[in-house]
Symmetry: C2
Subunit: 327 residues, 2 copies
């Protein structure tokens, strides 16, 4: 079977999405959509879907519309999340509610969500449509649930590691997992394979998000592309902070509680002190161990997918690329 | 064929929607959805869908999920529109962004939109699903376009009657029309019948919205359930105002322009004066004529639907109920 690398697939789906035109009326509705989809980004979800499909079939171009649906859905969530978080910038550009206004962000986001369903339905084979839409709809709803948990956790003191992992499973992993599963279903995979690929996606997604949390503290600011320490300043209850709170003792524990309770502080000082406590407690090692074990669990699930091992090489490579970035 | 009246169908679909439970986690996401769907309302779209289906088939209970999908979609639009309009009350109760907060309105609305697709897909027969979802998706997107035009018109001076009618076609009519068409498709109607019912819905929807505009000026406040004159106070470019601006002359025209340009005024005084100008110009008659002709055009389209005339009686009666209310 003719297989394509993730780089080749990315190029094609990127071109496909670039060529989608939203130059229709009313322009105030469609301009923000074109703007957001034009940001680019890594197109992780389309590429994962195409790689999963390519385990079973060659004609990846037949499901570009579904791939665009996943990307459109993902960008809809970023648009509305940025509005809810009142974030000013996304990928170095002003967010829609800043460049236009909050109502534009609401309504254009709604239209994007509807468009994502249209892409997903577009020429979807009759024997797949029910299962594809079921997987997509469930993931779409779970992403909203994850976002709500994330909001809820901001005002809670006692978030456990398990609760945090469940939140990021919903907010981040299930859409990556659904991308793989939908690709597999469209490729004609067995139910068992489709589910294995989904479960692989969940594990990789968790590892990916934990790594993002890790990089927010220990990443190279130039490579990471975001300011370092943002999560520390905002007391975001990440794996790192939750672990530190449960593992720290003595003066480390007191010091950490002090920094969390301060409403006014010097950012640099807080970041340096909290990072120091993380180091004392061994948080980076605990976090890296968790990332490694989730990643390894994911790869074991991929091993169990019933296609010959060499066909999985592109997917395995791409999972590696996702995890290696910026470390 | 066993047929049911709109009252019988309303009772059933009302019970079906009441029984839907959203008592799942996270409660902050699902409570607002349960709250909004519990408002009640006239369930126009489900009833229209069931009436159209019942022209062809008896087992209306098999499409209650799709009917709930239309109602969920409609309530999603109210939820987000109320947020965008910063409206405090809906059907005598605080709106979601007031009772909870704006982010809850955004996110719960998003989840409702996703749920509406799930209801629509749920047990949708394989031979109908593509056409049903196409009609639904197009209507859903067009409602957003209509809302955007409505927002655009607020800051425009020169809105024509045709532009206004196109805006309310998108914002109000297409979902009523799609409800009828989806019911027809699910009932196994011919393409021609399904389209005729859609076109009937467009005409009835336009008549219905123009009547709403009319009632905002000339309705009985107790029966209408909203304050009279709200559109006049906000200079909303309805059929009434646009017609008055183009038809008024002399002192009526000057007086109307004056009231529009005033940023501070006594509500009662403005409402009385502008209503007086409408009366001088003959706006109520022009509006009622337009409503009557749209309604008659709608009924003629219904006449052309290829089922025996007596089967159409319930649908014809319901269109009459929609139009007679509160006048």
């Amino acid at each position: 079977m003719k297989q394509q690398t993730s780089e080749q697939l990315l190029k094609q789906i990127h071109n496909y999405i670039e060529k989608l035109s939203y130059s229709r009326e009313p322009v105030q509705l469609y301009d923000p959509i074109e703007y957001v989809l034009g940001f680019g980004g890594k197109r992780l979800r389309p590429v994962l879907m195409l790689l999963a499909y390519n385990l079973y079939k060659e004609d990846v171009e037949t499901i570009f519309s579904q791939a665009a649906g996943l990307e459109t859905y993902h960008n809809f969530t970023l648009l509305h999340d940025d509005l809810m978080d009142n974030a000013d910038m996304r990928r170095g550009k002003p967010t829609v509610h800043k460049k236009w206004n909050p109502n534009a962000a609401i309504l254009s986001g709604d239209a994007m969500l509807i468009l994502s369903y249209q892409f997903m339905m577009n020429d979807c084979p009759a024997d797949c449509v029910a299962s594809v839409m079921k997987v997509f709809g469930q993931a779409a709803l779970e992403v909203c649930e994850g976002q709500q948990w994330d909001i809820d956790f901001e005002s809670r003191e006692n978030v456990s590691v398990d609760e945090y992992l469940e939140m990021i499973r919903l907010k981040t992993s299930v859409l990556l997992a659904a991308s793989l599963k939908i690709g597999a279903i469209l490729g004609g995979a067995s139910d068992d394979d489709a589910q294995k690929l989904y479960d692989f996606g969940v594990k990789i997604g968790l590892a990916f998000q934990l790594q993002d949390d890790y990089l927010d503290v220990y990443g190279d600011p130039v490579v990471f592309g975001k300011n370092i320490g943002g999560d520390i300043c905002s007391n975001k209850k990440t794996y790192m902070l939750i672990t530190a709170l449960s593992e720290a003792s003595g003066s480390d524990k007191d010091e950490l509680q002090k920094w969390i309770s301060l409403s006014e502080f010097d950012d640099k000082e807080k970041i340096a002190s909290v990072t120091g406590i993380y180091n004392n407690v061994g948080v980076p090692e605990l976090c890296m161990n968790k990332i490694d074990s989730l990643y390894a669990e994911g790869l074991r699930l991929l091993d169990e997918v019933s296609v010959s091992d060499d066909l999985k090489e592109n997917l395995r490579h791409f999972a590696g690329v996702m995890m290696k970035r910026k470390l």
